[in-house]
Amino acid sequence: MEHLGSLILVAVGAALINNFVLHYFVGICPFIGVSRRLDTAFGMGCAVTFVISIAALLSWTFTYYVLRPGAPLTSAILGKDVDLSILNYIVYIFVIASSVQLVEMYVRKFFPSLYKSFGVYLPLITTNCAILFACLEIMKHVSGANPSEIWGLDKALVLAVFGGVGFTLAIVIMAGIRQELDLCDVPESLRGAGITLIVAGILAMAFMGFTGVDRNLKDAFSKNLNVPATPISSATGQPKELTYNVRQK
């Protein structure tokens, strides 16, 4: 139960509270570039979710067995503990580039129309920050973490899949809003990226409403349900976290 609870916390955190696009600003390029139409946006979201899951699976495997300090495979081969974490970034980018190639071949073979509508954006998934970001988050929890807190493969996958779901959610909402925006009279200099960014800002404000959900969920999962949820600061009427920079590292 406790393990399941922590998985749900990771999922909610990645998809809603710390949404990849609206909280960490990763994957902004496709968010602005491919959000003109609903169907393309949804396809893009699915492609990113798929690539992110494969990349997370591979990068977790490499980090856990080869790269982290005291990794089993490396020490078995070399006979001593070696810290290869300096190679992390290079390995991740290699993993991502090869999984994007794979997805590109698959989509071109089975969904030619989707392939055409992606255009240049499919190869550009390689340089989509969201995927490298997921790999880095997993790295943070595998390499260099306390031995008792190292994430298993299940948590890594949940983070990646729900990060992708969060990305899809954001880009689909954005595409819906932009289709309506076509009918509006937007000042000429704000057309295109300008108004998209401002709408994204309002969307990010809406998503800030999820702040604190994770703590209440955690309280709900813990055994003693008598403990009240995290106190809300009386001065601002908001959870205390909001009064300083929410992006905790």
Partner: protein, 214 residues
Amino acid sequence: MPTEGPTPLERFVRGILPENPVYRQLLGMCPTLAVTNGVAQALTMSGAVLFVLFCANIITSLIRGLLKPHLRILVFTLTIATFVTIADRILAAYVYSMSKELGPYIPLIIVNCIIICRCEVCASKQGPLTAGADAIGQSIGFALALLSLSIVRELLGTGALLTGTALELRVLPTNWPNWVVMVLPPGAFITLGLLLGLANWAASRLASLKNRPA
């Protein structure tokens, strides 16, 4: 080797304003939005990008004769990843707190479109001198964009500049009600959107002034 295309000086000047990476080309949005909640973070980020872009451009330019078309993006990314690793280690060694603050955004320079775009557009076609000048010009343009955004955000969000460093500079009166939203993610989106609109408006004004018959 004969160089065609723009000269080093042209490349350098173009990067700063006419082809500003953020405002005119809409590249590198991720760090632009993420690290501009303070001027100090923005400056560190610009320094890291300058280092990586300069080294990657020079190396790419030197090996441009060996590049195969279908493998070049991979070669670019691996070159960039190497230099980003170096920059990341240097930052962690000398300015540890700042490196913690920037967190994943330093490694995310690897997938920053600006650097890959400059390798592709300039460095893989022209000599090291031009490539170096281009890298410096583009980095200055990027730094200016980051600075403009971070000054607006930090000023409205905290009333001071360079908060938390030794050079902290109080600009607005102390009873300024901090617009906390400006240092949070929504403020980044909205400020960049408005500044982008301003840049577009200025560009179109300039163009119409130039075209006006004397």
